[in-house]
Amino acid sequence: MAQINIDGDNLIVEIEGWDKLWALKSRLEIPLANVRGATADPGIVRGPRGIRTAGSHFPGVLTAGAFRIDGEKVFWDVHDPTKAIVIQLADERYTRLIIEVADPRETVDRVERAIVDGGRA
C-alpha cells in the first residue's frame, strides 16, 4: 500500500510497512511537471510485468519493485489488484508507477487535479 500526497510542486509517494523491504525504496519524490497522469486500473495486474530488475515478485501474492518491459522501467507495489492505480511519468527514472492505494478514485482525481492546477500556475 502506498500513500500519495501533493506537497507544493511535488508528488510524494510513500510505500508503507513491509512493502518497503520488497520495493527497496520507501519514498519517491516527483515534480508535478513530470507527472503525465493517473488512472485507476484494476486490470493491469493481469498483463505482463516484464523482467524484474530489483525487488520481489511472488505471483498471485505480491508484486513489488522495479521491472523492465519494452525498454521502460516500471515501479510496482500491488497486493490488491482492485486498488491498483497507474501514474505515468516523463523524464524520470521510472516511466510508470503501478501502486496500490486505499481509495483509487479519490487519489486519481487528486493527482489529475494537481497536474491541471500546476499547468495553470
Binding site: R36, G37, A38, T39, A40, D41, P42, G43, I44, G47, I69, D70, G71, E72, V86, Q88, T95, R96, V108, D109, E112, R113, V116
Partner: protein
C-alpha cells in the same frame, strides 16, 4: 523514449470519442479501452498519460471535427450525445471538461439562440430516453 507508435493516433482518439459518447466515463475501464481501441496498455499510457488524458483528447477532437462543422452547416443536426454525457457527468468533476462544454454551448447559443439551444438539448435528452420503434 522515442519509440515508434504502431497505431494511428487520430483513429484511436476518434474511436475513443465514440466509446465515451456511448457509456458513462466510470463504466469504461482501461481493459475496455485496450479491447475497443486495439492499442496496448503501455502505449495508451505512453501516448495519453491517463484515461482522463485520452478522454480530454477525444472530447476536444469530437467537438472540433464533428460538432463545430455541424454548427456551421446545420446546427439542428449536430451530434449531441457525447456533449450531453460530458455535461452531466464529467463537467461538474473536471474543470477542463467544464471549460470545453461551456465554450461549445456558447457557440450553439450564437449559431441558434439560447432558447433554441436549450430546446434542442432538451429534445435530444428526451430522444435518448425514448425507445426507437
Amino acid at each position: 523514449m522515442g519509440r515508434p507508435r504502431a497505431f494511428d493516433e487520430a483513429e484511436v482518439v476518434a474511436s475513443a470519442a465514440a466509446l465515451f459518447a456511448s457509456r458513462a466515463y466510470d463504466g469504461i475501464s482501461v481493459d475496455d479501452l485496450v479491447t475497443h481501441l486495439g492499442v496496448h496498455r503501455n502505449s495508451l499510457y505512453q501516448t495519453f498519460g491517463s484515461k482522463r488524458g485520452l478522454y480530454l483528447r477525444a472530447l476536444r477532437r469530437h467537438l472540433d471535427h464533428e460538432v463545430r462543422p455541424a454548427l456551421q452547416s446545420d446546427p439542428n443536426q449536430a451530434p449531441l450525445d457525447f456533449l450531453l454525457l460530458a455535461a452531466v457527468e464529467r463537467a461538474p468533476a473536471d474543470a477542463e471538461v467544464a471549460t470545453e462544454i461551456t465554450r461549445i454551448l456558447a457557440e450553439f447559443d450564437e449559431a441558434l439562440s439560447p432558447a433554441t439551444t436549450a430546446a434542442l438539448l432538451g429534445h435530444r435528452l428526451r430522444a435518448r430516453a425514448t425507445p426507437t420503434p
